[in-house]
Amino acid sequence: MMKTETSTAPAPAAFEPRITAFVCNWCTYAGADLAGTSRLQYASNMRIIKLPCTGRIDPLFVLKAFENGADAVLVSGCHPGDCHYTSGNYHARRRWTLFRKLLALTGIGDDRLFFSWVSAAEGQKFADLVNDVTAKVRKAGPFCAVHPGRRAS
């Protein structure tokens, strides 16, 4: 295990982050659709997992994404008050408030784990978000070399 850590990591310039996004069907997924119909260009590093609501997202999903080698995770849903299911995003918010602090203690900080509200009307915000997250993770470097939550190859 010690040896794999010190094995040659790819040069920073060649590092293409893998970002897993968990988004709700009604707001952020639709916002990403709008970014598409508006032909907004953004970085191609993010892969979206669609769920009905941010309320469905279990912290285990986030850990599994990291374990599988994601360099960052984004969770995005409806703005407060906009939840299709009235309060799923409020439940999610409380969960993430706690969970992110727990992960921060274990070394997964704000440059790995991102949260946002993106409405169905915010195509531009979605595109900007993906670009911004990608840039930050590019700077943070690969997750897989440094954290106990990764799966050793």
Partner: protein, 266 residues
Amino acid sequence: MKALREAAEKLLREKRVSLVIGYEDRKGRPAFFAAKPEDCGRLAYDASCRQNLAAYLGKPEIRARLPVAVVAPPAVLRSIVVLTAESQLPPGQVLALAVDGDSFLGTFDAAGVAELLRAKYSTLAPEPALLERVQGLLQKSPAERAAFWEAEFSKCTRCYACRAACPGCYCSRCIVEKNAPQWISTAALGHGNYTWSVMRAFHQSGRCTLCGACEAACPQGLPLMLLNAVLDREALEEFGSRPGYDPEAKPLIGSWSADDDHSYMR
């Protein structure tokens, strides 16, 4: 000690309970089960008692013998309130023999436990040393924190002593024991150990009474209380959560307020 033994003996003699769960008067203060009045002379309590005896309330063999009484210092009293709020204790079936330091405080039912806690222990706070350890770790860089946990979690053998020790871990089938899908790897390797410990702690959010039994039970000495403490502090600061005081409390994870903070959301 005498008062505790007498109170326990009285409960058994009057057949108000069929079992008193306490600590035994021998080295290490292990769990002791008094089923007969004459057993009660072997009960003891002092600050060295590390087990949270409320963990036994989820054990089927104990539940088959309800009503029971439990020797309970403040953290255990809070566990009883948490279990009551989560509909885990049949009403009127669990009595607490409340103890604190050298004193015996009396015999209480679930409502009485909540009252006692509010009256006498409303300001229970985590040990400052524990919070200092959390703060010390948070002051390190993320990479240093990761390295710290890498070293710690590599020791974990997945014996689940932490789970067995915790009254909050009463699920009949733990998530780690579910294999369709197997979210948490059961292999005692880095990633499974990490996910296990992180999720074990997270599942105690808003429920943990910081009794310390999990950390005390860990044969490898993992600093599990750091995880519990950071969540406890956050839950208190963000949501005013104080688990184990209100037997009708809604679960922290499972309720919400429109005013909850989301400054970290973009």
